[in-house]
């Protein structure tokens, strides 16, 4: 015990001394550099003068370079630069090959994948079927299955190697979207993963992506990535800085002042400002529907347990005005729990029309002619201008006699209620999120009895949902999902609001800007002109 304490103290003392030494060295250098700069009249940073692509993002991934610690955006923005999955979802939303070149079903439970040849990790070690199997085995094992990515693979039964570049993947139930799921399973270099463990690997990840990490935080406070010399795709720009700018004002100001080449999550009202300054503005459909869900299971006595009331709420809200005025027409009114382009989207469904008279009539039929009061838990800042959107909903509902009190909370509190199913209010903000698989089944699953501790459960829909989840034939499956969209539209387990999209801006100093599955394809970017490499520096 004494030895342990003494070791801990000496290690911590060393850390303190190192920090003090660093601070002193730093200050002396700073003063010297400052003096030199004042004398010379200008100074540049370590990355200035090199080709550096600066990208403003909302945040770095949780657990940094451990790609199994989260699902989808915003983490995928960083991870897609460092790693590849066997498949990927391309710019048009189609599932295409990445580390796999081809795949097909042998039987409803078994998939055959052919892997790309000649792929190396950034440390030079080769990628093959044995390595892919090792990654899957870890994710299916005791440690991996409790990670968010491992949790998504819970129906995988077995992965076996056919030869050096061919894999067989068996699932317990037929899984028509397995290739989509595998786009989220990034391949890590297994020796490094095994030797370092997930935490240390996260600090210095090794993947097959177009870039390799230099540091998670350089002096600009940015994650610095370098072109992966061993990569199977060569990026045009050698150095990338990812700036995690959670504060919107900081991100906007950095982008508009040309300190960034690319910036994520701008607001609709800022688009015109950027366009006037020559930026390209790209609205990347996030495959999410903004909505307010109803906790029917937790509040069986509430008016919202009546389908007519839920429909009335949908009729009472003027989503066209919300779209036009608050989001400048960028986010279109939603008709269902999926956006166009998502597999299972039903193009024949129209959004609920704005019809307060119809809403009042439905309320009268349900026995609430004099209206009622409910509360809704909301997390502000999930979507651009969401506070204004919720306020407009509140105003529209008041016009038909429904008084809705908005209870703002933090995401940490919201997710606790979501996971435990213990909602304090009758309604809560919840999007229909078809990302990252671009398939309508995902939100349908959590708007059903299939969710652990569900908030909406209609047993009569479960057979249809299970059929759509396991139907292997593509056409039949699409039809099943489209039929389910109609059921969900009519059951109205949520107020369907808008089809959300993330607004990215790109400086005119870069070209070739494309988004795929919520992440910019940085390796495709080029500088427009050699002289335009520097940005406001």
């Amino acid at each position: 015990m004494k030895v342990a304490v003494s070791n801990a103290l000496s290690i911590s003392a060393d850390a303190v001394l190192d920090a003090l030494r660093e601070a002193t060295r730093f200050s002396v250098q700073a003063v010297k550099l400052g003096a030199v700069c004042i004398l010379l009249g200008s100074c540049t940073s370590s990355t200035i003068g090199r080709d550096v692509l600066r990208v403003g993002i909302v945040s770095l991934p949780p657990a940094y370079g451990n790609p199994y610690a989260a699902m989808g955006a915003p983490a995928s923005v960083t991870w897609q630069q460092l790693f590849d999955g066997l498949t990927r979802i391309d710019e048009a939303g189609n599932i295409v090959g990445a580390l796999a070149t081809d795949w097909y079903l042998i039987d409803p439970h078994t998939w055959h994948f052919k892997l790309r040849r000649g792929v190396q990790f950034s440390n030079g070690s080769p990628f093959d079927a044995e390595i892919a199997k090792e990654v899957f085995d870890w994710l299916l094992g005791d440690a991996g299955r409790f990670t968010p990515v491992g949790n998504e693979l819970r129906d995988l039964a077995e992965v076996s190697v056919l030869d050096s570049h061919e894999l067989l993947i068996r699932t317990r139930l037929p899984d028509p979207i397995l290739p989509n799921r595998l786009a989220m399973v990034m391949m890590v270099e297994p020796n490094e993963w095994r030797n370092l463990g997930p935490k240390a690997f996260g600090q210095m990840p090794v993947g097959t992506g177009p870039y390799v990490l230099r540091t998670w935080r350089n002096k600009n406070g940015a994650a610095e990535l370098l072109a992966n010399g061993n990569g199977w795709r060569r990026p045009h720009v050698n150095v990338v800085e990812l700036y995690p700018l959670l504060d919107h004002a900081a991100r906007f100001q950095a982008a508009i002042s040309n300190q960034l080449h690319l910036a994520q999550s701008m607001k609709p009202e800022e688009m015109e400002i950027f366009r006037k300054r020559g930026f390209d503005v790209l609205v990347d459909p996030s495959k999410q529907i903004i909505g307010i869900a109803f906790d029917v299971v937790g509040h069986p006595e509430s008016p919202i347990s009546d389908r007519r009331v839920r429909q009335a709420i949908n009729y009472a809200v003027d989503r066209h005005s919300i779209s036009k005025i608050i989001t400048y027409g960028i986010h279109k009114p939603a008709s269902q729990g999926a956006a166009p382009g998502v597999f299972g989207y039903n193009p024949d469904l129209e959004p609920y029309p704005f019809d307060p008279a119809k809403a009042r009539e439905l309320l009268r039929e349900a026995g609430y002619a004099n209206g009622f009061s409910i509360k809704a838990t909301i997390v502000q800042g999930t979507y651009a201008n969401d506070t204004e959107i919720y306020q407009k909903v509140q105003e529209d509902l008041a016009d038909v006699g429904i008084e809705i009190t908005l209870v703002a909370t933090l995401f940490s509190d919201w997710i606790r209620q979501y996971v435990t199913g213990e909602w304090r209010t009758e309604a809560f903000s919840l999007g229909w999120n078809t990302a990252p698989y671009h398939d309508a089944i995902r939100p349908m699953d959590y708007f059903s009895c299939g969710k652990a501790r569900p908030f909406f459960c209609d047993q009569s829909m479960m057979a249809e949902i299970e059929n759509a989840a396991t139907e292997i034939r593509s056409t039949e499956r699409e039809q099943a999902l489209q039929k389910l969209q109609i059921r969900f539209h009519d059951e109205a387990p949520s107020l369907f609001l808008l089809e959300y999209g993330h607004i990215w801006v790109a400086s005119n100093k870069v070209s070739g800007f494309e988004m795929a599955n919520g992440a910019p394809q940085l390796y495709k970017l080029r500088y427009s002109q050699a002289t335009d490499r520097k940005v406001n520096r």
């Binding site: 700073a30 370590s46 940094y64 968010p148 949790n151 002096k219 900081a250 300190q259 996971v419 406001n536």
Partner: protein, 309 residues
């Protein structure tokens, strides 16, 4: 002997303070939310959440967690960051040089601006010029530092595009954060210096100095100013200590990768180990700066020790 006893008492107070802060942080953070659920994500199964709780020790009764936590704090072990996986204390200490540098720049600009203006205001408080400037200083004191920072960014970064605002690798990035901090700290320091100088100028020894023919400049700089320093040193010490904990918004706005930015990011992800380590480091820094201020007091005016005694 008396000094040793006084120092021991100070150390005892410091240990009690640290214990109070670590305890408060432990319980207050656990009241804010459940980091395990945030880590596990929206689609987590109950089994997955239980496994993570076990992995991070959150499955134990709260009091038992507290006992383990205190035991580890004694070994200066705050655990690993829930976000990055790095050991929390070394991780926080890595950010310290950047915060120290910002504090140093902020204080340098503050002192450079405040001393001449404060002396000028204190030397001739009844004249029109100093009165106008005094009024402006009072107005400036009411302006929060982050407002000034936003205005400066809008002007120098967005409109004129003269200066960058991200990080600190480029020397020009040091200017705006330092000026923003100084804009918040300088008005108070100016007012204290002005009041102290003004008070000194009314003392008997000033009249004596004048009567023996000393120039007005000599009176001001050799007699009044040294006597006005004492109260000023206390404020500079307090302001320097404040900068270690209070520059969060400035670090966020300028994306200055120091303790403030880390605090902001860790709050978002409920990274308890890092937040606890930050609170601990800031408490130690504030104590160190205050102790150094006391030492400076003794050096400037040995009578201070006697008064305490």
């Amino acid at each position: 002997m008396a000094r040793i006893s006084s120092n021991l008492r100070l150390l005892g107070n410091f240990i009690v303070l640290l214990l109070g802060i670590t305890t408060l942080m432990f319980f207050a953070l656990r009241a804010t939310g459940d980091p395990i659920i945030v880590m596990a994500g929206e689609n987590a199964s109950a089994e997955m959440i239980d496994s993570l709780r076990q992995q991070y020790g959150f499955d134990q009764p709260l009091l038992l967690q507290y006992v383990y936590y205190l035991g580890n704090v004694l070994k200066l072990d705050f655990g690993a960051s829930l976000a990055s996986g790095q050991e929390a204390l070394p991780y926080v200490l890595q950010q310290l040089p950047a915060t120290f540098m910002l504090a140093l720049f902020g204080m340098t600009v503050t002192i450079t601006v405040s001393v001449p203006i404060g002396i000028w205001l204190g030397a001739r408080p009844d004249r029109t010029g100093p009165r106008i400037v005094s009024a402006a200083v009072i107005v400036a004191q009411g302006l929060p530092g982050f407002v000034t920072a936003l205005i400066l960014i809008q002007l120098f970064v967005v409109k004129l595009m003269w200066l960058p605002s991200l990080g600190y690798a480029d020397v020009r990035t040091w200017i705006l954060p330092s000026v923003s901090l100084a804009s918040f700290l300088a008005p108070k320091l100016i007012r204290v210096i002005a009041a102290n100088v003004s008070e000194s100028m009314r003392q008997e020894y000033i009249r004596t100095a004048r009567s023996i023919g000393m120039s007005e400049r000599g009176v001001l700089w050799r007699e009044a100013f040294p006597n006005a320093i004492l109260g000023t040193v206390a404020l500079i010490g307090a302001q320097f200590a404040f900068l270690f904990s209070g520059a969060v918004i400035i670090e966020v706005l300028f994306h200055w990768p120091g303790i403030g930015l880390l605090l902001f990011e860790s709050t978002q992800s409920l990274d308890f180990p890092v937040l606890q380590a930050i609170a601990f480091v800031i408490a130690v820094l504030v104590f160190v700066v205050n102790s150094l201020t006391n030492v400076a007091f003794h050096m400037i005016d040995p009578r201070v020790g006697k008064v305490i005694k």
